[in-house]
């Protein structure tokens, strides 16, 4: 790095002030009125060239005054001639790329990050006693023991380097450069440099920045490329986790879709492992065709309610930094389904909801009672009762119907269904019900069942990859047609359009009215595997949407905290360990996969972090143009394990501070100007001998 640079470039912008003497001279010359005088004869007799001499001296003085200001401003700008002179104090910021891509293999059996850290250590060893250095990471890592600014303490710097570990995150080059510029800006050394140690992955360094980094004159920028080794194996990235759309119930199995991507040209065969907070482990083989993505379903179960998490990792490819993801969710308590009637009134429905009866397999426990004893504060979230109980309740049962309505208003789900034995005729429905049953009908050949509202939440567990409800080839032999008036909505119907399942929102709850008894004599639905999912979908519908847990890609900026408290505590619940507490503004991001709690005052936020799939992309900036550096002046060199980086660095700490010579020149101009501006009095001409 050679050339001139200024440490205080502000003064360079004041250079036009050097023209002030000339401007003042011209201004006052215009303003000055000449003094009338009878004759200039005596002056010419004194010295015929008096005028020419005077003008020459005047312009010389002006020139010297201009030079004086020029030299002073240049001296104040502290120009430094890089690459020349005996050297001076060095202030250096080492910007180490600790993003996920740096965990790939480098030279000498080390990871690229380890190689970068070793090179940085060499650089620090080459610093002189009065030199200062600081470390900035591309991905802010709360676990790294970094000094907050520049320090001459080499031991502390080396200790900080030892604490730098691989991350699974992408970083922002612009933000890291900004941090490095701010840190180097605090230095007062003659030579100020930022040294970047990176593999220059295209994803980060080959992209034009949204906001070009601001150039700071006087600061050198050197990029030291860490060579990347070619990996023969395909790389598989874990790109997404798809959690169930409904709440996860304790003791109930649920399915998580894990999406794996293989951007490489060869097919990949990997193993997907998982580990939950209870220590349960599992794994599954997965084949990911080349340049495709695959969903791998994983069935999990949380035994207890509360915040639960699962860590997934891919095993079997050669790049680990994009292989992990954490999922966190809130597991709700086991649910109750209350049947108001005899078990025979509900066909196969109780069995579909709770095959074991105790909720072990489905998370739903079934109990039976009578409509007479039903109270609105029933603990169950789901209540089923036969149509007969409602239609034949009579005026004396208005209290029970009122309790049922209140139950709905509070958010419960009620299913009204015909008994397999049939429906008694007559009776009236309550006024608040918009769905009314008609008389029982039949079809000896069976009518096909059709889904009328595919988007309804009770089908959430029945949808395939394309969003279609997997409820096919169901034949209906007996049915009670339903009349669904607004606001009720039909959900299931027969092929000719008869509605056999409708829903009506009542307060916060949902009333489901069925025209089918869940018995094989009525339809083939109870015999279908989808019936279990449909039944449980109806029973769990009242639970609404699951409690969401923030999900982040490692390295993404953190959002969601109010930012009102001064201190913030971050702690890992699972995955990569982290225990950090400090000023809220200093915590930027999570660099590694895990489940974390963030406490800011009384506010707590849980975050599940997965690795950045971008880090597995194996394209690196070639040549000397690094787009992410924008218009900043920089140099790019490659560090090889054999040559080392030290000679290059030492060459750069030689520079010549031109301030003193310029200051001396300014003083010389001042002296010369003083001498010219105050000449000795002219001596009289000697009298000629006569």
């Amino acid at each position: 790095m050679t050339g001139l640079t200024a440490l205080n470039p502000l003064f360079l912008s004041l250079l036009p002030l050097a023209a002030l003497p000339v401007l003042f001279h011209l201004f006052f010359r215009l303003k000055r009125q000449p003094r009338p005088f009878p004759t200039l004869m005596f002056f010419h007799r004194l010295d015929p060239k008096l005028n020419a001499r005077r003008r020459l001296r005047e312009w010389l003085i002006l020139f010297l005054r201009t030079l004086l200001i020029l030299f002073l401003l240049l001296a104040l700008a502290r120009p430094v001639w890089l690459g020349h002179g005996r050297g001076g104090d060095v202030a250096a910021v080492l910007l180490i790329d600790n993003s996920g891509s740096m965990s790939g293999p480098g030279e000498g059996g080390r990871t690229k990050l380890k190689q970068a850290v070793d090179d940085a250590r060499d650089f620090i060893a080459g610093l002189h006693g009065t030199d200062n250095a600081g470390i900035v990471l591309l991905v802010p890592d709360p676990a790294a023991p970094l000094q907050p600014g520049l320090t001459p303490d080499k031991a502390a710097l080396k200790l900080a380097l030892d604490g730098i570990a691989e991350t699974e995150a992408s970083g922002s080059v612009a933000a890291a450069l900004d941090r490095a510029m701010k840190m180097i800006g605090t230095g007062t050394a003659a030579i100020r440099e930022i040294h970047v140690f990176s593999d220059l992955q295209q994803e980060k360094w080959g992209q034009l920045p949204l906001e070009p980094p601001a150039s700071r004159p006087g600061i050198g920028l050197a990029v030291h490329r860490i060579a990347s080794q070619s990996i023969g194996q395909p790389n598989v990235s874990l790109t997404r986790l798809e959690m169930p759309a409904r709440p996860i119930v304790a003791g109930r199995r649920f399915s998580v879709q894990v999406r794996l991507a293989n951007p490489d040209a060869a097919n990949a065969q990997v193993r997907l492992n998982w580990l939950d907070d209870a220590g349960n482990r599992g794994s599954v083989e997965a084949a990911v065709p080349r340049q495709e993505e695959t969903n791998v379903p994983v069935t999990l179960m949380a035994a207890n309610p509360g915040l639960r998490w699962v860590l997934f990792s891919v095993e079997g490819d050669d790049f680990p930094a994009d292989n992990r993801a954490a999922a966190a969710f809130v597991c709700v308590e086991q649910q109750s389904a209350l049947f108001l009637g005899a078990p025979a009134d509900f066909g196969y429905l109780p069995l579909a909801l709770s095959p074991g009866g105790n909720g072990r397999l489905s998370g739903l426990a079934v109990s039976y009672s009578t409509f007479d004893s039903f109270a609105a504060d029933a603990r169950a979230g789901f209540v089923a009762l036969p149509w007969n109980a409602i239609l034949q309740a009579g005026p004396e049962a208005s209290a029970r119907l009122g309790a049922l309505r209140e139950f709905l208003m509070k958010g419960g789900t009620v299913l009204v269904t015909p008994s397999p034995g049939g429906m008694a005729g007559g009776g009236t429905k309550p006024d608040w019900m918009s769905i009314a049953p008609e008389s029982l009908q039949g079809s000896s050949n069976g009518l096909a069942l059709a889904v009328l509202d595919k988007a309804n939440g009770i089908f959430d567990d029945l949808r395939d990859d394309k969003g279609e409800v997997a409820l096919r080839n169901v034949k209906v032999f007996r049915f009670v047609p339903l009349r669904a008036a607004a606001p009720a909505m039909p959900i299931l119907g027969l092929e000719e359009g008869t509605v056999v399942l409708a829903a009506q929102s009542v307060g916060q709850g949902l009333l489901l009215a069925s025209g089918l008894a869940f018995d094989p004599a009525w339809s083939t639905l109870p015999l279908k595997p989808a019936f279990v999912a449909l039944a449980q979908g109806m029973a769990l519908n009242h639970a609404g949407a699951p409690e969401t847990i923030a999900s982040l890609v490692a390295g993404e900026p953190l959002a969601g905290m109010s930012g009102t408290a001064e201190t913030l505590a971050a702690q890992s619940l699972g995955g990569s360990p982290l225990d950090w507490k400090g000023p809220a503004g200093q915590f930027a991001t999570f660099p590694r996969v895990g489940v974390y709690s963030l406490r800011e005052g009384k506010e707590t936020l849980w975050v599940a972090v997965r690795s950045s799939e971008k880090e597995g992309r194996r394209k690196f900036v070639a040549g000397g143009t690094v787009a992410a550096l924008g218009n900043l002046p920089y140099s790019v060199d490659s560090i090889s394990a054999s040559a080392g980086a030290r000679p290059d660095f030492r060459r750069q700490d030689r520079s010549l501070d031109l301030s003193l010579p310029l200051l001396l020149l300014a003083f010389a101009c001042l002296g010369l100007e003083g001498w010219l501006a105050n000449p000795p009095a002219m001596k009289p001409r000697p009298v000629a001998a006569t």
């Binding site: 000449p34 005088f37 005596f42 009095a681 009289p684």
Partner: protein, 295 residues
């Protein structure tokens, strides 16, 4: 002596001119009898010398007393007294406009001097003419021997507007050729030209047997620079400009002026011309009394 109220001859000045006289050291030719010796011998009362009688001489001029003692016919000769013909040669160049330390500008001061001396000359039965010049002779007035005759001259003085460059030597030469009778030539000028040329002109006048009186009005600010710092001077006659650091050049300038005046003085002395340096800071009548009061 009652003078009308001319600008340059106010009554108070005219009244203070008593006791002043102007005469010449060499004979001059005049048409009228006056105070000054004539080169012609005649029947004046002032004895001059004797000469031998020659046929044709009037017998009445024979000094019979000498004849009685020496038996020789001797004619007694007497110095003829005549009136003085004076010509004022007035420099009206631009430089005469200058005034800084003086009571008047050099031009005005010269006009006061001329008017006063004209009146003095008339008072002793002499006559006075006037020539105005700068780079050439601009206007001439024939000598006047009375107050009435002097009127156009005095009015002409009031009309003067200094302008142009002065060519003193040229004016002197022209005047020398123009005046036939031996006269008194009074040059009033600041003489801001090389002394050698001026002296040549004076010598021409002297060669033609004219008496020469030179009056040089000078502002004190010309003799020594009375300002400090850097100033740009503009020459009145040419408009030429010169930036001058006064403090730096003050001593050398004063020395140069003194040297110049000395050259003028020596030149006049060598040419038998009367020379007076007039300080314009002094009142006119005071100057006149100082220079001409003893006569």
């Amino acid at each position: 002596m009652n003078a009308p109220a001319y600008k340059f001859l106010p009554p108070e000045l005219a009244g203070r001119l008593r006791g002043l006289g102007l005469t010449v050291r060499h004979p001059v030719e005049g048409a009228m009898q006056g105070l000054h010796r004539s080169p012609h011998h005649g029947s004046s009362v002032e004895f001059a010398d004797y000469r031998e009688y020659a046929p044709g001489d009037p017998p009445g001029s024979i000094d019979w007393a000498i004849y009685a003692r020496s038996d020789r016919y001797v004619i007694r000769r007497y110095q003829e007294e005549t009136n003085l013909g004076a010509h004022f040669l007035l420099d009206i160049s631009e430089s005469m406009r200058f005034r800084e330390a003086g009571l008047h500008s050099k031009m005005d001061y010269a006009c006061y001097l001329a008017a006063a001396l004209m009146l003095v000359l008339l008072g002793q039965s002499d006559s006075a003419g006037l020539t105005l010049f700068n780079d050439e002779i601009r206007e001439s007035f024939a000598p006047a021997g009375s107050l009435d005759g002097l009127r156009p001259l005095l009015l002409a003085l009031e009309e003067i507007k200094p302008s142009g460059r002065s060519e003193i030597e040229k004016a002197l030469h022209q005047t020398a050729e123009k005046i036939q009778r031996r006269s008194l030539v009074i040059l009033i000028s600041d003489l801001l030209q090389e002394p050698a040329g001026i002296i040549r002109g004076v010598q021409h006048l002297r060669h033609n047997r004219h008496e020469v009186l030179i009056l040089q009005p000078f502002d004190a600010a010309e003799l020594s620079l009375n300002f400090g710092g850097l100033a740009e001077l503009r020459e009145l006659e040419t408009g030429a400009r010169l930036p001058v650091a006064a403090d730096e050049i003050r001593e050398a300038y004063a020395n140069e002026v003194a040297k110049y005046l000395d050259e003028i003085r020596r030149g006049c002395l060598g040419s038998l011309a009367d020379y007076h340096l007039i300080d314009t800071r002094a009142p006119v009548e005071e100057t006149l009394h100082a220079k001409f009061g003893q006569l």
